[in-house]
């Protein structure tokens, strides 16, 4: 086994995949999104639960897929809990940007600090076929927030084919 595998499958990723956070659909919820990765059949159903002040109280989800996709949803669920929606969306943008650095990292310490454990997925960016695995849950979250009407970004639609 090469060091590349340890770098890709960080211990944090393997642990989250084994014991994921936020798994199990909860009621009531503001909106739900179902996303599939058509190339491999990975799927996630994700619900957003909003606080009275409109912040994202938490997400709950059910899904199946590879360790990268499952761990990414789990880390995301921890990360976004209790945050204002605008901050969640900014994190999502940072995470998408991180995954497109081909493993180089964002070169932006503040953004990486905000992403916290999600920076464990930096190495995934080296494997273009796996980027969509790490983004599956984030796509579901963005879509669910749009559906909940809380999104601060434009509503020019998200589609399951948008991210490569």
């Amino acid at each position: 086994m090469s060091g590349a595998m340890e770098q890709l499958y960080q211990q944090l990723i393997i642990e989250h995949a084994k014991d994921p956070h936020g798994k199990g659909l909860a009621e009531p919820y503001a909106a739900e999104s179902f996303q599939v990765n058509p190339t491999c059949g990975d799927e996630v159903r994700l619900r957003v639960h909003l606080a009275p002040d409109g912040a994202l109280e938490r997400v709950s989800w059910q899904g199946q897929g590879c360790s990268i996709s499952q761990a990414s949803i789990s880390v995301m669920s921890e990360l976004v809990e209790g945050l204002p929606v605008a901050e969640v969306e900014a994190l999502g943008e940072d995470f998408r940007a991180l995954l497109h650095t081909r493993g180089e990292g964002l070169q932006d310490e503040a953004a990486e600090d905000r992403l916290g454990d999600a920076t464990a997925f930096t190495g995934v960016g080296k494997y273009s076929a796996r980027v969509k695995c790490a983004l599956l849950g984030w796509m579901a979250l963005r879509d669910a927030l749009l559906q909940a009407g809380t999104s601060t970004t434009s509503t020019t639609s998200t589609t399951s084919t948008e991210e490569a």
Partner: protein
Amino acid sequence: MTTTLDPRAGTHLSAGELAAVRADFPLLRRTVRGGRPLVYLDSAATSQKPDVVIDAELDFYSERNAAVHRGAHQLAEEATDAYESARAEVAALVGARPDEIVWTSNATAAINVVAYAISNATAGRGGAAARRFALAPGDEIVVTEAEHHANLVPWQEVAARTGATLRWIGVGDDGRLRTDELATVVTERTKVLAFAHVSNVTGAVADVAAFVARAREVGALTVLDACQSVPHLPVDLGALGVDFAAFSGHKMYGPTGVGVLYGRRELLDAMPPVLTGGSMVEVVTMESTTFAPPPQRFEAGSMMVAQAVGMGAAARYLRELGMAAVAAHEAEMTRLLLDAVAAVPGVRLVGPADQRDRVAVVSFVVDGVHAHDVGQVLDDAGIAVRVGHHCAQPLHRRFGVAATSRASAGVYTTADEVAAFGAALATVRPFFGLGGAA
């Protein structure tokens, strides 16, 4: 130089012959992932290409390129000759007449030609001769649960367009088709029976004779997906007696962008066209058009001539190797792959465990590890396998899994490569912190 195997050698390739075959494929010389030798076990997805195929395309563009079937100049003659010679080469490989071979952009397109011709006949196109293809509510189309989406979705669409009903033959726990269900699922209402010669997931070879016999009893058309058989087994479509067959160039050591629809001559003669326009006509007036005979009737517009020439070179390459020798070598790889998968604790085969009537397409599940993660760890060892549902979601659903990993051999696969695969497979569960046993 093309390698030629001695057909008298009989059952398998000698070490020297196999080395010579491998030398025909330039890509096999490269390394991956930091200098590791490539172990390419993804030939069921797409095969690598021998020099003769690459050279045939290069030669066509360098020496012969011109529009085919038009023009009076020498280049046009040479290009047309190359295009039609390639058709004859492919026909000879699969026991067909050249005029029974229609070039298509891929195997999916070939199946869709039949599907849309049926729809057009249903709409009254093609006149009285085409009425035999028309479908109506109450008619049935039968497929199998093992089909690649390419031989399933077009039939769902035909059913939706014509009002016909789609039914299917099941798959047993052993991964083989429930041939016994032919007697009950295929009835007098069945008009089309579409099935894969070899499953691209289980590797199981269908009992084509039983399918054809039952279809003939009830007067149904047979459509064979031969993508996974033509590159790996001796296939004589005429002798098999199927009405239509589809296969692709890129899986039989040929180029991408080209495939073949085979149709029995009398059926192609009666079938209305699908794509219409230039090159497929006889007389065109402002009011109406008469169509060329097949195969040109189904080859509208400028075709993929260089790729067709490349596919012809691939067919010649296989014929010169000898399909019996190819099949014998790959049968040995089948045995080694099945043994390799069986030897690793926590790895479950999806498909027949015995070698009878199966090819070297071996799909499996690693307990506790998703197929993508399996593929990633194998890739790190330089081993290329396919992961996912392999365009056969219903078959995966049948086995209660979303995805499998699939190792598939080609004529260039070696015993050492299968051993490397087995060794790397044994590292997968331990890497993810799982015990050796399930």
